[in-house]
Symmetry: none
Subunit: 266 residues, 2 copies
């Protein structure tokens, strides 16, 4: 790791802490708000809550790894130097292995798909897990050739997921109504925009020809990951909630509170 000034080190430190706080705040929000949506959409909210809980835990660990990787330079109190302990960055893959399949599953769970919902969820979640697993050997590889090979293999399930979301799910989204339809279109774009950040970061060591990362690259990558993760997990989870809420509000009350509604006709 290169030396960092105190403000460079603090920027990444603060970005990790911000992301952790955003994850657990979203977790509390989703758990408290879960009762506001119809029972059939609550599984989607539960999965959104799991995603931010898992990601929050991993950010705490990444945060600790960042702290452990640096010490104040004994010759210069204004700088941080590498402590010798590696910064465990490939660790993110462990988070993604759990959260990325959940992210695609929660999108399917919140949609009104007449049949084949379970089988579609299985295909998308498997592709998501494969995407993460195939990326890992490239992430920890020392040479750029190996990185490029595994990166390419990892892209295949990613393309499959995009195909399912933008072509396969098209008719189902057309059948949605009002606000939910608009939100479902937007959430696909959010997913594309945020997930698109990860391959760009993955390519940096290949583009730079395997040169050691500079302080600028490290800051851009880590702060960039934080922004992408907050958008792809907190923002996405809150949009899933908004979709579930819009669909709950649009449906006859009978669908929301079966017992009371049957009695009161309300």
């Amino acid at each position: 790791m290169p030396s960092l000034s105190v403000s460079e080190y603090s920027l990444v430190y603060n970005a990790f802490s911000f992301t952790f706080a955003a994850m657990f705040a979203t977790f509390i929000y989703l758990v408290l708000s879960r009762g506001n949506v119809a029972p059939k959409y609550r599984t989607a909210i539960t999965m959104s809550a799991l995603v931010v809980a898992i990601a929050g835990y991993h950010y705490l660990r990444i945060f600790e790894s960042w702290q452990a990787a640096f010490v104040i330079d004994p010759n210069n109190a204004e700088a941080y130097i590498a402590s010798g302990k590696p910064f465990n960055d490939a660790y993110r893959y462990i988070d993604w292995l759990l959260t990325v399949p959940l992210l695609v599953a929660e999108l399917v769970a919140v949609m009104s798909i007449a049949k084949g919902k379970g089988w579609l969820t299985f295909r998308l979640a498997t592709a998501a897990a494969l995407m993460v697993i195939l990326g890992y050997p490239g992430e920890i590889a020392a040479d750029t050739g190996t990185r490029a090979l595994w990166g390419f293999l990892s892209t295949l399930p990613f393309v499959y997921i995009l195909y399912e979301l933008f072509v396969g799910l098209g008719p189902a989204i057309q059948n949605e109504k009002g606000e939910a339809k608009v939100l479902l279109r937007n959430i696909r774009l959010l997913l594309l925009a945020t997930w698109g950040f990860y391959p760009i970061v993955y390519l940096i060591p290949i583009i730079s020809g395997g040169a050691a990362a500079t302080a600028g690259v490290i800051m851009a990558v880590q702060v960039g990951y934080c922004i992408a993760d907050v958008a792809a997990k907190c923002g996405y989870g809150i949009m899933i909630y908004a979709i579930a809420k819009a669909k709950t509000d649009a449906e006859p009350a009978a669908a929301q509170m079966p017992a009371a509604a049957a009695l009161a006709g309300d």
Copy 2:
């Protein structure tokens, strides 16, 4: 950091711990009391709970950073000297980036605004986030000129927020009734009084001509921040709850529990 006597060090230590305890106690109170208000006001209470949860987490971190920044003077057991690790004070900005937009959003959420609520929330929350983001480069700047420039830029969205609260929201507050109306007027004043503390602290290094902070200034700033944060987050959150409760009590019960009300006429 200057040397501090044991009692000076402990005063700040105790103020941080007090603030953390106040935040998590308010969190528990809001979560447990949330069910007492009508469903339409619960989002405001949820946001209040998120604010104190996020702030509580950050106070725990600031507290740890304070502990790490000092060691007992090996030559004088009655004094604390700088350990060499920086006290991460700019860290508060990370807290504010999440909590300040939520504080303005919860005020809008608890009010009865006929239309444009979402767009007003977006404008206020964006201005609040901008205010924090623009303050950060000045906070970490070494020279007072840079600090003054970013401080000035940060004041622009602050003035916009005050304009919206005191002019834009005026008619909506006039339409509120009874206790809720009085509380809404008071909460604006609480917000003005507590938020007004932050620019004063921001100006201290400029007024002192960039001189290193003395023990007295550090104590005044840190204890002052604690008091302002407890008032602006715990006090404010409890007032939001009081407004929601007053409005719930003033409304016909039918509006609160649709299904049960239809049955029982309650």
